[in-house]
Amino acid sequence: MNENVQILDGNTAACEGARLCRPRVIAAYPITPQTVIVEKIAKGIDAGRIKAEFICVESEHSAMAACIAAQATGVRTYTATSSHGLLLMHEMLHWASLARLPVVMANVNRAVGPGWNIWCDYTDSMAQRDTGWIQMYASSCQEILDMHIQAFRLGEDPRVMLPVMVCFDGFTLSHTSMPVNIPDDSLVDNFLPPYRPLWKLDPDNPVTHGNIIPPKNYNQVRYSQHLGMRHVPEVMGEIRRSFSELFGRDHGGMIEETHTDDADTILIGVGALGAGLKVAAEEMRKNGQKVGTVRLRVFRPFPVNDLRRVCHGKKVIIFDRAVSLGLGGVIFSEARYAMPGEDLHGVITGIGGEDVKTKDIVSVVERSAKERLENYWVGVE
């Protein structure tokens, strides 16, 4: 196998990941910090490296609407957005999922204004939790590229048939350059079968989609969507095995674990923050502390069974970078559902791009030895 390692930032890795999956239609609107993805895709199409139709749209709502319409003709589509752009798409996100159109979208995580803020937290994507999109979070530029390939296969699996959001940290990943191994097109073609839609608009076989349906049928459609979500852990397990066999890399399945076997304390997070937890855990282990980490690669569906298996009987500290205002950290609340009997601590950190350093993580762990941390808000409390 020819190794093609290049130094790429996260946005370029996303563009390369999308290119390798051969979407036929791409509709996107630029927004900081995602802009580079749109620029590189436009250049790629212009140079003939990406064989797709690019639709210039006037908003993110239109971008998603265009992807939905294109995907409904039976072709693979892709888009990318961030923050306020994602929020503007909200209505269309529900539409893509209920229509069982597995659109894949990159979301470069960025805080929401006002107080205008271009830096990272996960409020934008986590606020889309209930739209029926699978949500994955990458922690390196290599994983961004690889996660795109996995996302298309996951969403298009006939048991799943749901759209997938590939999320990664604004600037921390989107604008940070790292070595990225770009696989051969043929390797990706082996891993990702051609898209076989559940339904499509076809003049030879006319159908109407989105017509009024009575409550009983709607109830079934919703349940079917839920079933699609419930198949994700099983399909993700297959994807993990097949991906590591073909590509020789393994980022984990629903979750990525480090040192969980011998750990008495487990730190949980997503994205680049999840990678930061790993660094901090290694530091603490040098001092003999038995710390392990769990990084959620998939946040929706929530990896309930993996967490129950890994965290049982251990102290768990959840690092949230998004808040459900009036309740608390988003992952913390969900972990409480998944693991009601466990010793859970939760902190809110890194909001609006606040840097989360190793020493901050270590001091949270130290503090948790003295008091129960229940939505302790780092830096303000």
Partner: protein, 87 residues
Amino acid sequence: MDGLTGLSKPVKGAMGKTGTWREMKPVIDYEKCTRCLRCWISCPEGSIIRCEDNRVEIDYEYCKGCGICENECRIKAIKMVREWEHE
């Protein structure tokens, strides 16, 4: 229940006999009609039937009485009348 979505295939009268919704009904004056098919192409419900020789007939089982055909007819060969005024 895997892979369900709000998909419908064209069938006649999926929503029942919508002709009962009607208050005004279109009536064609065949003396005037030139068989231009403007009404047939304009009917949003497909309730105007194109017969042999392009003669048109209205399917009163499903026509909701919207009046678009009357509005579109350039030679005023279609007239909307009260439901009970015409048999």
